[in-house]
């Protein structure tokens, strides 16, 4: 396992391409928490087997937006002194972690691609997202609106963009042919849905 990972990493490093994605919001400002992912045209890449943590800190999901490859187990460690009751009714993975403190015994494995909205039954304001994608090539934009997908093997991809508030329909997949050791850049200007009113 570790070997395989190393190999991939090595190959990525050696013969890989890089994709720089720049995301801007409707007002032209950099948009954070946008996820860009490249789905190779061909067989789905193998799962990079590693666990991901979505913590609960100060009654918030940290990070709020998480992207994982399909089949990735996700832990929900509770860093707060109080208990949480994390759940999702989203179709890819409805689950419920009844009131717990610390890290639950078993991680939740997200085995279907799609958007999973996370909530806490006792803290209405807690909102988190897990995007489950069929590719290991993804990146999340930072406050500067930039997301860099590295170690992309040369080949053809469909590049997708997702954001929790992305107005529908989402931007169409952008087909992209990547060569090794090449850096490509893509930029998005997206429109967002209004944030849901807080009640």
């Amino acid at each position: 396992m570790r070997f395989l990972l190393a190999t991939v990493l090595a190959s990525g490093t050696l013969h890989a391409a890089t994709l720089d994605v720049d995301v801007k919001g409707p007002d032209g400002k950099p948009l954070a928490d946008a996820i860009a992912y490249a789905v190779p045209k061909g067989p789905a890449p193998a799962l990079r087997k590693r666990e991901v943590n979505v913590q609960q800190v100060d009654k918030m999901f940290v990070p709020m937006v998480t992207v994982v490859q399909t089949g990735t187990p996700v832990n929900f460690p509770n860093r707060d002194p109080i208990r949480h009751h994390v759940y999702s009714f989203s179709a890819p993975k409805p689950f419920e972690l009844k009131l717990y403190a610390g890290t639950p015994m078993a991680p939740i494995v997200f085995d279907k691609p799609g958007e999973v909205v996370l909530g806490c039954n006792i803290h209405d304001q807690m909102l988190g997202f897990i995007l489950v994608v069929d590719t290991p090539y993804f990146a999340k934009s930072g406050a500067d609106g930039k997301a860099r997908i590295e170690a992309l093997p040369a080949g053809e991809y469909d590049v997708m963009l997702w954001h929790p508030q992305l107005a529908l329909p989402a931007p169409a997949a952008k087909p992209l042919k990547l060569r090794a050791d090449e850096t490509n850049a893509l930029s998005y200007a997206v429109t967002l849905r209004p944030s849901p009113p807080k009640r």
Partner: protein, 652 residues
């Protein structure tokens, strides 16, 4: 078009049926005037109070409306809060998340019961009903109140009042958050009479919920009694038109102020709440005022009625008295005095009336004498009131004339002819009297009574009376000649003439007065007329007549004593004016007077011889015969020493 009711003139004395009594008119006028004033003030006060009451009621209504709106908001908040809590129930969310219709439906029913909602539904984010406890059949169909969903989409939730199955419901739309909206939940609460009653408790006004989309508008729920609902439904259109102001509505006989409040944006749902307050309640204080005012008005009217009746009586009583007096005058009774009480004008009228009565009476008294007076001067004097017509003592001459053997004349004629003849006589005598400025007092049968020196005494009255008597004598003689030609008997006239003091004036009853003269002298004149038959002379005149006339040749007839009187009266016959008698006749007259002297000197034999010598002479036959008779009697029974030669008249 001519109005047949209106005559051009109303004859005097004809009472118009429309002519009300003056008294009634006065009373009606005053009371009517007061009524008008009272009504006007009542109306003004009523108007003011009404306006104030209306203002009060309306401001109360507006206050209630604010409370109502606040309640509306509060209620929707309350329902929203309750619903939100409900939709965050994890079990509920889990049930929704199952997307199993039956499970969802049972969860909805269960949760609706928790907050006493009448129904609960789940609507997908796409607006399609997932499940609805009120109408399970609507699943899979678009939710009917898409506007509420859309509002909830932007605002996070929505509340509205909508008709479900024709009944108003407050509908709450909230999202089911997991934690982002996964669907909408609608919860509905029936707005029914119970809700209206609850609102009435809080706003203290009657509440009605109406649906204005139908015609007529439909009452959905109300606290108004059934008896008033029909009228209210009819008035809804007007009430809605007046909004946001209140309007006046009559419901089953009572007045209300009604204000309408839209429950929703009217474009979405034409539902309104009507708040109503009774105007009566606002007018409660006025009721007492009204009673007091009515009481005062009654006193006012009563006082005015009594007062005006009194005034009217004071005005009309003298008028009625005057009317009664006028009726008396109509009957000929002038002996009346009109009571002159009342106002100055009435007193004036009464005194004028009394004056008029007196005037009328005087004129009436004069009417008789006026008819007798031929002289215009005298008539004028009479009319001016310069001649006293009351009982006054006057010195006047009275003449009675009588046509003798008129009966014999009449026998040879038809009644019409004899009457015509009589009138001829009387006309002639009257003409002669008037010619001598005398007055024909009256006709007595076939005779005439004439006055000289009354009612107006003038110089030479007695003289003219004697001349009139002579003229009558001559006139009748002339007439006799004319009659003799027609083969009719010769009429003779007898004429009594006497001058004396007598009472002149109006004599008779109040209704019929005659101006005439009274007194012994008058009776004596009548006696003298009778004596003409005895002495066979045409004229017998009294002593005073004889003494007061001049230029007349007199023949003394006799000395008579009227029964009951002491003093004897010498009687004379005027023969004619001095100069009109021839010598021969004067000689005989002298012889007569000598014989009379002998007789009175008791020289019977000388007297007898003188009378006997005169008895054969024309005009002295009968007189001498009478005296020869006296002498026979006196010779047989000599008279007492105090004999004055008078013959006593016994018979009338």
């Amino acid at each position: 078009m001519a109005n047949p009711d209106i005559d051009k003139t109303t004859p005097i004395g004809v009472i118009d049926r429309r002519t009300a009594r003056l008294q009634d008119r006065i009373v009606v006028f005053f009371v009517g005037l007061l009524m008008v004033v009272l009504l006007a003030s009542f109306w003004m006060i009523h108007l003011t109070v009404e306006r104030t009451a209306q203002k009060t009621v309306r401001s109360e209504l507006e206050g209630s409306a604010r409370v109502f709106k606040y309640l509306l908001e509060l209620n929707s908040q309350k329902f929203l809060a309750a619903t939100s809590v409900l939709t965050k129930d994890f079990g509920f969310r889990e049930a929704i998340a199952t997307r199993d219709r039956d499970t969802i439906l049972s969860a909805l029913t269960n949760h609706a019961a928790r907050i006493n909602a009448s129904g609960m539904g789940v609507i997908g984010l796409d607006g399609i009903v997932v499940s609805d406890s009120l109408s399970p059949g609507s699943a899979g169909k678009p939710y009917p109140f898409a506007d509420l969903i859309s509002e909830a989409g932007t605002r996070g939730d929505a509340s509205g009042i909508r008709l479900i199955g024709g009944k108003p419901h407050q509908i709450i739309i909230v999202p089911v958050l997991a934690p982002l909206p996964i669907s909408w939940v609608s919860i509905s609460f029936a707005v029914d009479d119970a809700v209206a009653l609850e609102r009435k408790r809080l706003t203290s006004t009657d509440i009605t919920f109406v649906d204005a989309s139908t015609n007529p508008p439909r009452i959905l729920a109300t606290t108004v009694p059934v008896s008033r609902q029909a009228d209210l439904a009819k008035s809804v259109a007007a009430i809605l038109k007046a909004a946001p102001n209140a309007t006046r509505v009559n419901l089953a006989g009572d007045e209300f102020e009604v204000l309408s409040i839209p429950l929703e944006d009217a474009r979405r749902a034409p539902l309104h709440a009507l708040l109503q307050l009774s105007v009566e309640e606002g007018l409660e204080n006025y009721k007492l005022l009204q009673v007091v005012m009515l009481f005062l008005a009654a006193i006012c009217i009563g006082t005015t009625l009594l007062g005006s009746i009194r005034i009217a009586r004071r005005v009309t009583r003298p008028i009625a008295a005057l009317a009664a007096a006028a009726r008396e005058i109509e009957r000929g009774n002038y002996n009346i005095t009109v009571n002159s009480t009342g106002s100055f004008e009435i007193q004036q009228l009464a005194s004028a009336f009394t004056g008029m009565t007196r005037g009328l009476a005087e004129r009436d008294n004069m009417r008789d004498i006026l008819g007798k007076v031929s002289s215009h001067q005298v008539a004028e004097q009479l009319l001016k009131g310069e001649i006293e017509l009351g009982g006054v003592e006057v010195v006047a001459s009275v003449m009675f004339t009588d046509v003798r053997n008129f009966t014999a004349l009449a026998e040879k004629m038809t009644p019409t002819q004899s009457l015509a003849l009589l009138n001829e006589f009387l006309t002639e005598i009257s003409r002669i009297v008037e010619e001598h400025e005398g007055v024909v007092d009256k006709y007595i049968g076939d005779g005439v009574m004439a006055l000289f020196g009354a009612p107006v005494p003038r110089e030479g009255d007695t003289q003219r009376a004697v001349q009139a008597a002579l003229a009558v004598r001559d006139g009748v003689r002339e007439l006799g000649k004319r009659l003799a030609k027609r083969g009719l008997p010769n009429p003779e006239v007898g004429c009594g003439l006497n001058t004396s003091n007598m009472i002149a004036g109006n004599i008779g009853s109040a209704t019929r007065l005659n101006y005439t003269v009274l007194g012994d002298g008058v009776n004596l004149a009548s006696r003298f007329e009778g004596l003409t038959k005895r002495y066979h002379v045409p004229i017998v005149a009294g002593e005073r007549t004889h003494d007061q006339s001049t230029g007349i040749v007199w023949r003394e007839i006799d000395k008579v004593r009227v029964h009951g009187r002491v003093k004897p009266e010498r009687i004379f016959e005027p023969l004619g004016a001095v100069g009109s008698i021839d010598r021969y006749d004067l000689d005989r007259l002298q012889a007569w007077h000598d014989a009379l002297e002998h007789f009175r000197g008791r020289r019977w034999a000388v007297a007898k011889a003188a009378f006997e010598s005169l008895s054969g002479m024309q005009g002295y036959g009968r007189l001498s015969e009478i005296y020869l008779g006296y002498i026979r009697d006196l010779s047989a029974t000599p008279p007492p020493p105090d004999w004055d030669g008078a013959f006593t008249l016994y018979e009338k």
